[in-house]
């Protein structure tokens, strides 16, 4: 602490400490703790809050598992289904994203000349200057029943009848994959870029095939970047709202949409909090799982 003050001077040091403490306590810890507490309280009208009925209860978590008391089903199939579907889709999107971005990142880091690599990075970034919602609507136009893609496929005679990309969730997968592509590419790019190119040549010189070089040399080296990219893409995909609202098929529901409904439409903040906590827990479990799978420490992931 003393050396920190000495190094940065009193003014900058004080600013840093106040900014970080404010950020941590007021913007992260207090809201989360408040939500955690709220998720264990009954949904009461404002006048009754703090009264004798305002006790800790598991009613919202019970609702997630068993459904409302008026329903005849033993479990809350709808909400659990949406929850599992969201996680499954997010995992699939993460895997697709990884498969899609790894070659691009490798190309940018090791194959392309510095100038074309820079051009590629710019080309990747520029589309993200456009708002996420607008990008989603643009994709919806492309994928619509009489949209650009269907028209081209029909005109070229590749298909006879239009494909319903929206109902097949192709639009949703594409939109979600594209939405967070940069968060996968850049950690991968950083990780692969730091690999000594001689290692690739040494492996090749020793007779290694391209696939084995990647499997034994590049991927082990880039595993922290892979873990980092995967956790970010998973968390943001599972927590996405705009893209699923615009692009999901009418019978696909996203878990964040449920949370949104409880908070805004049903005015049940406690239940919304409980559902948010569930999503948060899954994200934390996913991070821990990635750390276990890739045998990396938390410090390496955020690097």
């Amino acid at each position: 602490m003393n050396s920190f003050f000495k190094k940065n001077g009193p003014l900058i040091s004080t600013y840093f400490i106040i900014a970080i403490v404010f950020w941590l306590i007021f913007l992260i810890i207090i809201p989360q703790l408040y939500m955690l507490d709220l998720s264990f309280r009954p949904n009461l009208p404002p006048l009754l809050r703090g009264g004798p009925d305002d006790v800790h209860t598991l009613v919202h978590y019970k609702h997630f598992i068993f459904g409302s008391e008026t329903s005849n089903d033993p479990y809350n199939y709808v909400d659990i289904g949406v929850f599992l579907n969201t996680i499954f889709t997010a995992i699939m999107v993460t895997i697709i994203n990884l498969c899609f971005c790894y070659p691009i990142a490798f190309y940018m880091a090791k194959v392309a000349k510095p100038n074309s690599a820079r051009l590629l990075i710019v080309a990747l970034i520029i589309p993200f200057w456009i708002n996420e919602l607008l990008r989603s609507f643009a994709l919806r136009i492309l994928f619509a029943g009489e949209g650009v893609i269907n028209n081209i496929l029909l005109a070229t005679g590749l298909i006879d009848t239009g494909i319903n990309f929206i109902a097949l969730d192709i639009a949703l997968y594409t939109g979600l994959t594209y939405a967070y592509i940069l968060l996968m590419i850049f950690p991968l790019y950083n990780a692969i870029e730091s690999l000594d190119t001689n290692q690739l040549e040494a492996a090749k010189d020793l007779g290694s095939s391209t696939f084995r070089t990647h499997w034994r040399i590049v991927i082990p080296h880039a595993k922290a970047g892979i873990a980092s990219g995967c956790t970010m893409v998973f968390m943001l995909t599972a927590g996405a709202l705009a893209t699923p609202v615009v692009l999901s098929s009418p019978n696909t529901y996203w878990f964040t949409q449920l949370i949104y409904q409880w908070f805004n439409m049903n005015d049940n903040w406690s239940r919304g909090s409980a559902y948010s906590i569930l999503l948060l827990s899954v994200s934390v479990v996913f991070v821990l799982l990635m750390m276990r799978i890739f045998k990396v420490k938390i410090g390496e992931i955020v690097r």
């Binding site: 000594d196 001689n198 290692q199 040549e201 040494a202 492996a203 090749k204 010189d205 020793l206 007779g207 290694s208 095939s209 084995r212 034994r216 040399i217 082990p220 080296h221």
Partner: protein
């Protein structure tokens, strides 16, 4: 002490185990390498230009040149990482065009070794067997054999970063030898080591090459390394071969001013030819007249000069002596002492002739130089046999 012991142990183990281990496959395979008219261009820049050289099988051959002279380019062309713009690479008489680095009978040791940091030492050594689908047991056995060979027995499970610089060097050699290549290519592998270790590794590399019997092609900018280890050297400058020959030939009979100044130290005297008698050339340089020998164009032929030609006469620092009753050779000149530099085994004495030509000569440390002090006049002498006359040309920049 322990370092010395390990070194001895290494060589002893080497002597006895070697034949059994390396030649376990049967006959030693070694190939000659021929570069035919190799040119490599990047845009309009020639990284290598019309290189023709035949490297014999089982030879320790070095490409020697300053950085950026194209020697690494040639090595990459031989290993297959780079396709020459023109010309052919033949290994064992076979044209290598279109054959990738993973399919050539060569093995490359990188400047920074490029060991795989996330694999154990044994996995590193056996990587080439792994890619050839050899079983785990077979790989382990081979790795253990090679580890014993490089005096690192029982250290196969260590990670690379747990080894010292010299040990890593040996692991890199073992890894390259594991596939039993016919040609081993070395890209300045000793340049990162400190002086003592470098000198030790020179001896080890030479010993390994003698025993393995395969062709070694070595790239270096360090003439000491090239001269101590090689059978033959090729001196390169700006993408072209200046001279190819035995080490002592290149040192004693440089074909060009560049070779004369790049390999070892040399004093250039810009001069004019006065008269020529066979290979004996009389030259005049700033009022001094010297007798010298015409330099060679190639192994068999000397340059021919005629009176009036502008030439450079080269005389090496160790060939100049202080004139006294014991040392009277056929050339003399007088000069003024400028500075004396102590180099350990040698003393370098810088003198000036006519207060504008710098000449350096060196005497063993044992020679008493107490009489030489700054600004003192000194009479020097050298033999015409040791003075080489070459046509004017580019010198190696110091």
């Amino acid at each position: 002490m322990s370092v010395l012991f390990k070194q001895d142990a290494f060589l002893i183990v080497f002597k006895f185990k070697f034949v059994k281990i390396i030649i376990s496959g049967g006959i030693i395979m070694s190939a000659d390498v021929e570069l035919q008219n190799i040119s490599v261009t990047f845009g309009s820049f020639y990284a290598a230009k019309n290189v023709n050289v035949k490297i014999k099988q089982g030879e320790f051959f070095s490409f020697l040149g300053p950085s950026g002279c194209g020697k690494t380019t040639l090595l990459r062309a031989i290993s297959g990482f780079l396709d020459p713009s023109e010309g052919k690479v033949l290994i064992g008489g076979e044209d290598m065009a279109g054959i990738g680095p993973n399919k050539r009978p060569t093995s490359l040791i990188f400047q920074n070794l490029a060991l795989f940091p996330l694999m154990s030492v044994a996995d590193n050594i056996a990587f080439s067997l792994e890619v050839r689908g050899k079983s785990k047991n077979e790989r382990r056995k081979r790795a253990d054999e090679l580890l014993e060979l490089i005096a690192l027995s029982g250290q196969g499970d260590k990670k690379v970063h747990e080894l010292s610089g010299g040990q890593r060097q040996r692991v890199a050699i073992a890894r390259a030898l594991a596939i039993e290549p016919e040609v081993l290519l070395l890209d300045e592998p000793l340049s990162a080591l400190d002086l003592k270790l470098r000198q030790k590794m020179r001896t080890e590399l030479r010993a390994i090459q003698k025993r393995v019997g395969i062709t070694f092609i070595y790239i270096t900018h360090d003439q000491g390394e090239a001269l101590t280890m090689s059978d033959r050297v090729a001196v390169m400058n700006e993408g072209e071969l200046e001279q190819v020959g035995l080490c002592d030939d290149v040192y004693d009979y440089p074909n060009t001013p560049f070779v004369a100044t790049f390999v070892g130290e040399n004093n250039p005297f810009y001069a004019k030819v006065v008269s020529v008698d066979n290979n004996e050339v009389k030259v005049e340089s700033q009022g001094n007249t010297f007798l010298a020998t015409a330099g060679k164009i190639n192994e068999n032929q000397n340059h021919s000069f005629s009176p009036g030609d502008e030439v450079i006469m080269f005389i090496r620092p160790e060939s100049i002596f202080i004139k006294n009753d014991n040392n009277k050779l056929d050339n003399f000149f007088s000069a003024k002492v400028n500075t004396i530099e102590f180099e350990g085994n040698l003393k370098n004495i810088y003198v000036k002739i006519n207060s504008n030509i710098d000449v350096r000569f060196s005497v063993p440390n044992a020679v008493d130089t107490s009489e030489l002090s700054s600004n003192k006049d000194v009479e020097l002498t050298f033999s015409s046999k040791k003075a080489v006359v070459l046509p004017k040309g580019q010198l190696a920049v110091d």
